[in-house]
């Protein structure tokens, strides 16, 4: 087996807030092979976004990536890189698409200015070449009349169009990895489908790897091949997407599936009981035990081992 493109090892990212320490990501491990698409799923506060930001090393005080974490990307540990080298990775070799297109573009510059700035930061192009490249990119992401639109400001675009612009920025330097953090959450359903379609196309066309972060199980099957499920900063389950959706192992994953109206599953719609635990005082042992109907004394005491059930199928639960 070749080296994976990305391998995250024992990633721990804590936030030292005035109210206590938030262990946003607490020991996460996964690999991603070149050209593959991985989904990270979880409720808000599960640590999935922080995982994405940690890979980009965009964690600022009071947040901190703890020593002992490793993020191997193309054979180098990103966490050991000096900041200026890391900057040439961001937007160039790893790009990120954010959750809220409405606020992710700078309101006081035209999209052309913003797009060419990203291009010129990483590529040695003249202003004119950069503009040409920007126009091509905008065309690629499906923005009509890009020659004219390039002079427009973000507020003149709809949410879906802004997300397209941000995707154009993300792919502008042909990154090896795109991290898409809930790219469709802020959009309406029809636009969602179009953006997903676009991401899928682009991923296939430029052969980049993709990490797709979402809380929406229904979306994930369309775009990724493998899924990890996160809860309270830890991975509960991992597997191939169709298998995980048709045969969830962890009670939490099962719960997530049951709480979805638009996934074809037998039985009634049942939300998971209880609430997401406080990020400052997470439960002991298995983080899910207070909401789990199978919970035992053992669950309260120890974190279950992350076991390999069969090839490419892992779960962290005492039931297995």
């Amino acid at each position: 087996m070749t080296d994976p493109l990305l391998s995250v090892e024992n990633l721990r990212t804590y936030f030292y807030t005035p109210y206590g320490v938030v262990k946003a990501v607490n020991g996460v491990n996964f690999e991603l092979e070149s050209g593959k698409a991985l989904g990270i799923i979880g409720e808000s506060g599960s640590g999935k976004t922080v995982t994405g930001l940690s890979i980009m090393r965009l964690i600022f005080p009071p947040g901190k990536i703890l020593k002992g974490s490793r993020i191997m990307f193309q054979g180098e540990d990103l966490l050991l890189k000096p900041e200026n080298e890391m900057r040439s990775v961001r937007g160039n070799r790893i790009s990120m698409v954010f959750q809220d297109p409405m606020t992710s573009l700078n309101p006081v510059f035209t999209i052309g200015e913003q797009l060419t700035r990203v291009i010129q930061t990483h590529q040695d192009l003249t202003k004119k070449e950069a503009i040409e490249k920007a126009i091509t990119l905008l065309k690629e992401v499906g923005i009509s009349d890009p020659e004219k639109r390039i002079k427009n400001y973000p507020h003149q675009f709809s949410g879906g169009m802004r997300q397209r612009v941000l995707i154009a920025m993300a792919i502008s330097c042909h990154p090896n990895l795109i991290i898409a953090d809930e790219p469709t959450t802020a959009l309406d359903v029809t636009t969602q489908a179009k953006i997903i379609e676009l991401l899928k196309d682009l991923q296939r066309k430029i052969g980049t790897s993709l990490i797709f972060i979402t809380h929406d199980l229904a979306l994930i099957s369309e775009i990724v091949s493998e899924v990890i499920v996160m809860y309270c900063g830890m991975i509960l389950e991992r597997g191939e997407v169709d298998e995980l959706l048709s045969e969830p192992l962890h009670p939490y994953t099962e719960g997530l599936l049951h709480s979805l109206p638009d996934v074809n599953i037998k039985g009634d719609l049942q939300p998971i009981e209880g609430t997401i635990p406080s990020p400052i005082n997470p439960p002991s042992g298995c983080k899910f035990h207070p909401r789990c109907k199978h919970a035992t004394v053992e669950c309260r005491e120890d974190v279950p081992e992350f076991k390999k059930i069969r090839s490419d199928r892992y779960v962290s639960c005492i039931l297995y």
Binding site: G91, S95, M96, S104, V108, L166, M169
Partner: protein, 315 residues
């Protein structure tokens, strides 16, 4: 399109201007006593008083006086000053450059110090340098201008003898000397503005640095200096411009006290004299001048805003 926007703003501002002109008129009519009597004193003969009342139109019914007053102001006639015996308009115009150079110097001083300091403070949040900047801005907003003036006069002017402590030299005649004379007044006048600008700059910079588009810009690998000085600063400047615009009128008000302390013959000192002498036409003229300058500053702020922020529509 931009000119249209400016004209529009001017039209919106007109009712306020009319309100001020009316207020100036009403206030002076409400005042106890008759300005002519006060000015001439008890020894003036009744005939003289009658003559003067007639001359200044104080014997007409009040609504006619008001209409006359509006008519005259519309053609730029602000009446004749009782104590100076000269047209009010000319007196104000002659002193305008003096006050404007003082106000602009102090605006310049506070902005040039406060904006970099505020940004620096935001970028070094909770470090010692941040605390120092915040302490200076607290002093700036809390210290009375006249106290700053007195302290500066004593320390820099009297004790160290490095700067002149009174008088005014027109900048056109001798720029260096004129500037030297303006340093202490401008610093005393601008202290509060400096303090407010610093804290607004700091907090708005911090706010903008937490915005998603800044996170996104970093995620696209933009240089930190581009992120701060281009992406963040331009957005963070908007509230700063607002506060400077609002504080502009405080500078004008403060110029009364500062010009008096430093013996600068500008409009501030003129205001003080007019009030002491109860020179009503002059007081009216000065009120209108103040509000005119203020409204001008409002329009300048709006235009600056529209230049920086493309979301503002030129309706």
């Amino acid at each position: 399109m931009r000119t249209e926007y400016i004209i529009n703003r001017l039209i919106q501002v007109l009712p306020v201007m009319l309100g001020i002109i009316t207020l100036a008129f009403v206030m002076l009519r409400l005042a106890p006593g008759d300005p002519i009597t006060i000015y001439m004193g008890v020894r003036a003969s009744e005939e003289d008083l009658q003559y003067l009342r007639h001359l200044y139109g104080f014997d007409k019914p009040i609504y006619l006086q008001y209409i006359d007053y509006l008519k005259r102001i519309a053609v730029g006639d602000f009446g004749t000053s009782i104590s100076y015996q000269k047209p009010v308009f000319d007196i104000i115009l002659k002193r305008l450059p003096v006050t404007l150079s003082l106000v602009l110097y102090s605006l310049g001083f506070s902005v040039i110090v406060a904006i970099p300091a505020g940004i620096y403070s935001a970028l070094h949040k909770n470090r010692i340098s941040d605390h120092i900047v915040r302490f200076i801005s607290l002093i700036g907003v809390s210290i009375p201008r006249f106290f700053t003036a007195i302290l500066l006069i004593y320390m820099l002017g009297y004790y160290l003898e490095i700067l002149p402590i009174s008088g005014y030299v027109p900048l056109r005649e001798d720029f260096v000397k004129g500037s030297m004379h303006l340093i202490l007044p401008a610093v005393s006048l601008g202290g509060a503005l400096m303090g407010y600008t610093m804290r607004v700059m700091r907090s708005s910079m911090l706010e903008v640095l937490g915005e998603n588009y800044i996170k996104a810009a970093r995620a696209f690998g933009l240089q930190e200096k581009v992120v701060v000085w281009r992406y963040a600063l331009r957005n963070a400047l908007l509230p700063v411009i607002t506060i400077i615009g609002l504080q502009f009128s405080t500078l004008l008000g403060g110029s009364i006290i500062i010009e008096e302390i430093f013996g600068i013959e500008g409009i501030g000192r003129l205001t003080y004299r007019a009030l002491l002498a109860r020179d009503y036409p002059l007081i009216q003229g000065v009120v209108i001048y103040y509000s005119f300058l203020f409204l001008l500053s409002v329009i300048i702020v709006d235009v600056l805003y529209a230049i920086i922020d493309p979301r503002i529509k030129y309706e």
